[in-house]
Symmetry: C2
Subunit: 330 residues, 2 copies
């Protein structure tokens, strides 16, 4: 029954969290501390081809046409071990070819689309017949935010408390929504704290962390109401305050740190300035210096013109909502 | 009995809060939300000359040799109204000449030394015989942090809950302490939120504010123990985390904002780097972009050389602990 030789190709899109995931209750299973809610995006995706190859004696992994090595390789192998375990094929290995169409510089976590695509392609190659919820759980084991990239539209990742109960699902389609995201690529900061480290430090040392959990869960309820009502203003406002409060957790850790650079601060101020001029848009920022701008169609070109002038057009990328997991034919 | 014609000259030094004052419970009386603890500094001070002049029909105020106008003038007059009320001399006016030896660019609040000196000079000119506690209460009405500049050394401002119970006092002398402060002057940020506005916004909109109060009061207890033990490392560590957590309040307000510029973040990273190299020093930052470095004598020149190279020596000023309020003879 096994598709031993037929390659399976899956495409997953990245997503931007409007209510952020920040902190794990279980590091190994990647069970988060709070619900998060994201929008899946069209422009940024990963295509992953997997063959369940009986001739291999170890997993072979190409990422962006280079042989994966060291911790990058190990992270994929650890994930494939979970697939092998589920498929009860401990001695079979995968050939993986993963191509990211996510400009690393744009500061989107390619791990979200990468592990969503890998979960879909590897599980099908191993003949596991997973429904979308099962796929979301599996993708979560590779990268928390990958659990959300299985679905299109507005997606909620339910915290849960174990492997079974922690998964994402679509909350609402974005097909009838007027919303877009402009990704601004800024200079890299000199220092880098991984989001995994940053989360750990926030959970264990920020005196504000317990309030964050309450806040995030309350933001989820409010943003869902705003999504129901197609209320862009409230969605934008919650997204911006939620993001800055996530960053307040890193600043209040011990040692406190910040993912922002001076340009991050300047771009937040630019967005505020545009709002004052009546051009509605909101900032959201993940664990890095880059800023994403939430906007509506009528304002997108004005906002892009503004940031093109400041940053150069190569550093300003516009995208609309994207689709969920897809299987491609060769 | 009144010194109607004799000028009274008072000198007050500025102070740097190691556990920050951030938020008022009473805007009018300037009763804070939490205790704060500061170190009075030597290099930065204000000399204020006050004459209680029977020939005047309104207060005359010179600040740094310019006639004070608008809101600057009104703030002084409002303060002098309190002195007039205490002295029961509603129809008499003051001649005030205030000279700040606080480089505005260094980002120290000159209002702390300015209102401490004004409180001392005006109250004596009006023949009020105030003890240091009464003087601290009076200075508080002009600017919260001025209540601390009445005293030398490590100074605690007790929150209190009314005019009578909210005042500062010396917790410990710094005479037998090895501690200095290097003030780094950075580029100004484009946007400016006054500390008064910033506090209000934090108190009313940050979901983390109630935790801040608990934290600050706990930091006070711990830093006092460290001061008792001459434990520079703990004093430095508490000062740095407390400052960053104060800034986390502004970032978590609605709208969230930050006093940092990119240079602020770079300087924090430089300080961390110096620590890794074994040169012990800690950052503290008030409501603005500038960074102050806490250090000990043995490391001061190495640290200054490092920052001189980065910022130019005109932007790096070293100071040691200073004295409390003094009256000067002409």
């Amino acid at each position: 029954m096994m598709n031993k030789n037929r390659p399976v190709i899956a495409r997953a899109h990245t997503n931007i969290a409007l209510v952020k995931y920040w902190g794990k209750q279980n590091e190994n299973l990647i069970i988060p501390q709070n619900d998060s809610l994201s929008l899946t995006l069209d422009q940024f995706y990963t295509d992953t081809t997997v063959t369940f190859d009986p001739t291999l004696t170890a997993d072979a992994v190409l990422i962006d046409n280079e042989v994966a090595q060291g911790s990058d390789y190990q992270r994929v192998v650890d994930f494939l071990d979970i697939v092998r375990q589920k498929a009860q094929t401990p001695d079979r290995f995968f050939n993986v070819n993963s191509v990211n169409h996510v400009p690393t510089a744009a500061g989107f976590a390619s791990s979200a689309s990468a592990f969503a695509a890998l979960a879909a392609a590897a599980s099908r190659a191993a003949d596991l017949k997973l429904d979308l919820t099962e796929l979301s759980r599996l993708a979560r084991r590779g990268s928390g935010s990958a659990s959300r990239s299985i679905f299109a539209g507005f997606v909620q990742w339910h915290t849960g408390n174990d492997d079974e109960t922690s998964y994402a699902e679509q909350y609402a389609s974005a097909a009838d929504w007027d919303i877009g995201v402009i990704a601004l690529t800024l200079q890299k900061s000199r220092k880098k704290v991984s989001s995994r480290q940053g989360m750990q430090l926030s959970v264990t040392t920020s005196p504000f962390y317990s309030e964050w959990i309450k806040l995030a869960n309350s933001d989820i309820e409010q943003i869902k109401q705003a999504i129901d009502q197609h209320d862009f203003t409230t969605v934008g406002h919650i997204s911006e305050t939620n993001a800055l409060r996530m960053h307040a957790l890193t600043l209040s850790a011990d040692p406190g740190f910040i993912y922002f650079t001076g340009q991050t601060i300047e771009m937040i101020n630019e967005i505020r300035q545009l709002r004052k001029m009546g051009i509605e848009c909101y900032a959201t920022i993940d664990a890095g210096p880059n800023v994403k701008v939430l906007c509506q169609k009528e304002n997108a070109s004005k906002i892009m013109t503004h940031f093109n002038q400041l940053l150069g057009s190569e550093n300003v990328i516009y995208t609309t909502p994207g689709s969920g997991i897809e299987y491609l034919e060769k």
